[in-house]
């Protein structure tokens, strides 16, 4: 009797077995795809709705003019927190208008700084830091 050759395409393999083509630890064509995210920690704050709109306008206007210094609103808020951490004095006051919740991601170091801020004044400090930053630092 003729021996039936097994079709290799139908063979069932453990695709993730060690040494297989999808084993990313050994195959140079599949480098490690795990992203090393610098900004691991998410912070949520309540900021002035108008201030958030202004931040969006700053980013859009910069991009329209070919300036990609700030890629998004989170980037701008993060830079403001960094500036405050580095000693920026809060010259702007908190507004009394409507607030909106927003989230941004920060590095380990910046998270530690944020957590060291007084518990019930975090959002106020953030809003004043962002207002001061866009007024004086951008």
């Amino acid at each position: 009797m003729r021996k039936i050759k097994k079709n290799p395409s139908l063979s069932i393999k453990n695709e993730h077995a060690e040494g297989s083509i999808t084993d990313t630890s050994v195959n140079p064509y599949f480098p490690q795809t795990k992203q090393v995210n610098e900004y691991e920690y998410k912070i949520t704050v309540r900021l002035s709705s108008l201030l958030l709109d202004s931040l969006k306008n700053v980013v859009n206007s910069n991009k329209a003019g070919g300036n990609f210094q700030y890629t998004n609103v989170s980037d701008l808020i993060r830079k403001a927190l960094e500036a405050y951490k580095n000693g920026m004095a809060l010259t702007a006051q908190r507004s009394k208008d409507q607030k909106r919740e927003t989230s941004f991601r920060v590095s380990n170091e910046l998270r530690d700084f944020y957590q060291s801020l007084p518990e019930n004044a975090k959002s106020e400090i953030m809003e004043r830091a962002v207002s001061t930053y866009i007024k004086h630092k951008i």
Partner: protein, 201 residues
């Protein structure tokens, strides 16, 4: 290269029209000028492209341009980062309550150093009681702040300025040489350039 930033937190005051007028005036006087259109709607860039499509290049390369005109969007905060780069800030407004309120609120919110660079251009001016009063209020507010300059007004002439942003193969001031618009803009430009050059000292 000197940066002239046209800014206001309010839309519809004539920022793009003023940007195009300044570029036309500089072209008319053979001064090389370039444009950054920081308004996502890109009105001034579209005007420049329309002129180019009609066979007239209105902008020079940044490497040879003496002036860079930055046209910003009329939304809150959009001009902030451009103001820091400005040699002179131009703030057009119509002398009526809505514009004056917005433009003066914006003016008092910016740094003193930026206030010193700001020049206000009354646009679409009509000699009505309301608008005369409006100009007076702006003048008083600038005296109070001890900063800012009020430039001569550009009059309300929709038949002349209305079609400017369509773009044309002919320079605006050649096209409208008999309408007196050149004299109006020259009054504004002479004070503007004096301020830019004064900033060099």
């Amino acid at each position: 290269m000197k940066n002239i930033v046209i800014a206001s937190d309010k839309g519809g005051v004539g920022k793009s029209t003023l940007a195009a007028l300044i570029i036309e005036w500089m072209n008319f006087n053979n001064i090389p000028v370039d444009l950054v259109d920081a308004d996502p709607i890109q009105t001034t860039r579209t005007w420049a492209d329309n002129c180019a499509a009609d066979g007239r290049i209105v902008l020079s390369a940044q490497s040879i341009a003496s002036y860079l005109i930055v046209d910003t969007a009329g939304t809150s905060g959009s001009s902030l980062s451009w103001l820091q780069k400005a040699n002179v800030i131009l703030a057009p407004f119509q002398p009526h309550y809505a514009d004056i309120k917005t433009v003066l609120d914006w003016f008092v919110s910016i740094n003193k150093s930026l206030q010193q660079k700001t020049m206000f251009v009354p646009n679409r001016y009509q000699k009505t009681k309301e608008q005369k009063e409006g100009l007076l209020q702006v003048k008083n507010a600038l005296e109070e702040e001890k900063a800012g300059i009020l430039l001569p007004a550009i009059s309300n002439r929709p038949a002349v300025y209305g079609s400017l942003l369509n773009g044309s193969n002919e320079n605006f001031f050649k096209l409208h040489s008999d309408h007196g618009s050149l004299g109006e803009i020259e009054d504004v430009m002479s004070l503007l350039l004096e301020k830019v050059k004064g900033g060099e000292k």
